[in-house]
Structures are given as structure tokens and as C-alpha cells.
């Protein structure tokens, strides 16, 4: 796991157009961010394109990063996720539907509790605790959408549920998650 303080220092230097710092920033974060892209687009050549686009974007917009709002890696990850999601939603993209069926199985609603699969940071434990409060369907749809980029339609198709049902699971799940996390953050 890349160290957020080191990344923050490198980003500060990148703001001032320090190219050596940018290469260091890439070296520190590329494996993590490539994995995030790969998990969503599921093809190495696509993930490479997404990573390339994302880093060009990061370089061009690095001055807009605000340390008060999010950790540097969270900000960078959001850029990669957005690029990857845009990539998936391109018209005429050939999907491998069988991959989705495997994924849906892997994130089944009776899979091991999220506390087993989430990392050990304090934030991760808080999220894991709150994910446990959701119903299995709510948890599964949220994880499939966030981690693997499944759309409402894809979730409905692969979970063999009406679209409205899937949308309700997600909406209620997110609502409950927020309530739970805001309470645990305040406590």
C-alpha cells in the first residue's frame, strides 16, 4: 500500500510541474491504480489505456487537488475509476457476459463476511462493520457496482431480478451505509 504522506509530498512537487516527482508518483501508485482499472474493465489492453489517460489527467489537474477534501490516493483512484467507467460505457463495446456471471458468483450474498475481505485500516473496518448491517442483496449489488463497474441493467440481468428491484436495493443500501458510517464517525 503506497504511503499517503509520501504521495502528498510528490503531488506538491508535481503541482509546480516537477517531472521527476511525477515519475516517482507514477512509480509509487501505478500498480495499485492499474489493478483498480483492471478490476473494472477486465482486459489488460483496456486497463493500460485507462491508466495512461488517467495519469495524463492527473498531471493536468493536479493543482485542483485539495488535501482538505480527500487523501491523495483516494483522489487519484477516483480519476482512474471515472476513466474506467467511461471506457466501459463506450458505445459498441464488446462485453464478455460470462465474466459477469463469474463475478456475480464470486460476490455472492452468502459470501464470507466483508470483514474478512476488507483491509485492516480504521476506515476499512468502519466500512466493513456498516456493510454487515445491509441485507445480502444490498451489499452484493453495491460491491459489484463499485468494485467491478456493473451497471443497473447488468446487475438486473445477471442477478435475474427486475431493474426496479436492483435500483431499490442500491438506493436503500447506500442510504443505510451513510447512516451507519456517519454514526460510527461521530461516535
Amino acid at each position: 500500500m503506497a504511503d499517503n504522506d509520501a504521495i502528498a509530498q510528490l503531488m506538491a512537487r508535481c503541482v509546480l510541474r516537477d517531472q521527476r516527482a511525477f515519475r516517482e508518483l507514477y512509480r509509487h501508485t501505478c500498480a495499485k491504480l492499474y489493478a483498480v482499472a483492471l478490476r473494472i474493465v477486465r482486459r489488460e489492453d483496456w486497463a493500460e489505456e485507462v491508466l495512461q489517460e488517467s495519469f495524463v489527467n492527473i498531471w493536468n489537474h493536479i493543482a485542483e487537488y485539495s488535501a482538505a477534501r480527500s487523501a491523495p490516493l483516494t483522489w487519484m483512484t477516483a480519476i482512474v475509476r471515472n476513466r474506467a467507467l467511461d471506457w466501459l460505457r463506450r458505445p459498441n463495446l464488446e462485453h464478455g457476459d460470462e465474466d459477469y456471471d463469474l463475478l456475480v458468483e464470486a460476490v455472492a450474498d452468502d459470501a464470507p463476511g466483508p470483514e474478512l475481505i476488507l483491509g485492516a485500516s480504521r476506515d476499512a473496518r468502519a466500512l466493513a462493520e456498516c456493510l454487515k448491517q445491509l441485507t445480502g442483496n444490498q451489499r452484493q449489488t453495491i460491491i459489484l457496482a463499485y468494485s467491478h463497474g456493473l451497471s443497473h441493467g447488468e446487475l438486473a440481468q445477471h442477478l435475474k431480478q427486475p431493474l426496479g428491484t436492483v435500483k431499490t436495493w442500491i438506493r436503500r443500501g447506500l442510504d443505510r451505509l451513510k447512516g451507519c458510517m456517519d454514526t460510527s464517525a461521530a461516535g
Binding site: R13, Q19, Q52, W59, I142, I170
Partner: protein, 231 residues
């Protein structure tokens, strides 16, 4: 569409971060984000809530060609976008010309020695000059920076403006101190920075927490920056 209802704003932000807000609705939401800082705040909160889900990703090393392509696109092609921005050069040449004229008058009036002056025209993302900093180039002593702030910029409560010197391409920026929004200011800088500032490549000004950067390096957004031009 306007995002006014607070519950709706939060719900749309959540689905945007989750990735289930799609197509035209996603584009529309991204357009609203540009000029709605509170909406950006809601999005950041959701990113922070869900970010731990990325902790369980096993890192995968991408092929080396990815960095080479990135480098081709940004480092070699345009190391400093604002250096190639015509508006920057137009503003810089205009102000340089004005300063040269002033200097010429000064030289005529005081023929023996004309101290060289360094001028930095600083601009924001739009390329419009927003601030100038100038100081006499002297081999020793404490330089006093003369700062002109144009327009009437707002400084949000709880924040400070910090001025940075950029010593060169591979060195870390050095803080010169905090400045305000007043149209005319002076900032005396420590004597030990004097030899450095005369060789600096540029200056930058960032928005920091009240009292200045806690880390000794810029942490907030860089509002203005510019190159040092000796005249």
C-alpha cells in the same frame, strides 16, 4: 437539471461515485460539479466512504510501455503548458515592456548604476495575469518583494495565501511566507534566501490552511504561478 433537493443531491452523488449514474445523467451531473463546490464536497464524502473497497485490490504491475506513453504525452510534448500559453507571453511581454520603460526612465535619471530587477507575472488557470511580484536583484542583503494583486480576489475564511519560490526543476519549492489580498504589499524575505531567489525559475501562490502549509510544501490548490523574468 438543477440539483436542489438535499436528499436528492446526496443520493445522486452516491450513485455517481458508485458508478451506477450513467449516460446523459452522468454527463449532466459532471457539468454541475464544475460550478457547485458543495456538490463536489458531497462527492468527496462518498469517495471517502467507499474508498476502503479499493484496499482489497491486489496491486498489478503495468507494462513499462504505459509510462513511456504517458511521458510522450506530457513530459516531452509539453513540459509546462503555461509556458506555451500565448496569453501568458503576451501578458509577460506587455508587463516586461512597461517595466523596461520604467527602468529606462530610472537609468536616465540615475546614470551610474542600474540595479537589475526581477519580475514575475503570475496568473491562474485562465491565463489572466492576477498578481505581479518584483524585486531588485542584489548580490547581498534582504530583498524586499513588491507585490501587486489585481482585481479583488476573495480569500475564504480559515485559509491563507502562501508564496513559494521554485528553485529549479528538481528542487522542492521553498516558502517565502504568507501574503494577503491587498492590492499593494511588500514582503521581506530572509537573507539566506536572497542568493536563491535571484536564480529561481518561478514563483507560485497556493491556498493553505490558516497560518500556512503544515508540511512545509504546498498542500492546497495553486491559485497563481509565473516565471521569473529579469529586466
Amino acid at each position: 437539471m438543477k440539483y436542489t433537493n438535499p436528499q436528492f443531491r446526496d443520493a445522486v452523488s452516491a450513485e455517481y461515485v458508485l458508478g451506477t449514474l450513467q449516460g446523459a445523467a452522468r454527463r449532466r451531473f459532471e457539468r454541475s460539479l464544475k460550478d457547485d463546490p458543495r456538490l463536489r464536497q458531497l462527492v468527496a464524502q462518498w469517495q471517502n466512504r467507499l474508498a476502503p473497497l479499493d484496499e482489497l485490490v491486489e496491486p498489478v504491475q503495468p507494462p513499462a510501455r504505459v509510462w513511456r506513453k504517458i511521458e510522450d504525452r506530457i513530459v516531452r510534448a509539453g513540459p509546462r503548458r503555461w509556458l506555451s500559453d500565448m496569453r501568458f507571453w503576451r501578458a509577460a511581454s506587455f508587463i516586461s515592456a512597461a517595466c523596461a520603460l520604467l527602468l529606462a526612465v530610472y537609468i536616465v535619471q540615475q546614470p551610474p548604476r542600474a540595479p537589475e530587477t526581477m519580475v514575475v507575472v503570475m496568473s491562474g488557470d485562465q491565463g489572466t495575469p492576477a498578481m505581479t511580484v518584483s524585486w531588485p536583484v542584489k548580490p547581498s542583503g534582504k530583498p524586499k518583494l513588491r507585490i501587486r494583486v489585481m482585481g479583488h480576489p476573495d480569500m475564504p475564511p480559515g485559509t491563507s495565501w502562501e508564496l513559494w519560490m521554485l528553485p529549479g526543476s528538481d528542487q522542492k519549492p521553498v516558502s517565502l511566507g504568507l501574503i494577503g489580498t491587498a492590492p499593494m504589499q511588500e514582503l521581506a524575505i530572509p537573507a539566506n534566501l536572497a542568493p536563491m531567489i535571484n536564480r529561481a525559475t518561478g514563483l507560485a501562490m497556493s491556498q493553505e490552511p490558516a497560518g500556512g502549509s503544515p508540511t512545509g510544501l504546498p498542500t492546497g490548490p495553486v491559485l497563481y504561478k509565473g516565471l521569473c523574468t529579469p529586466i
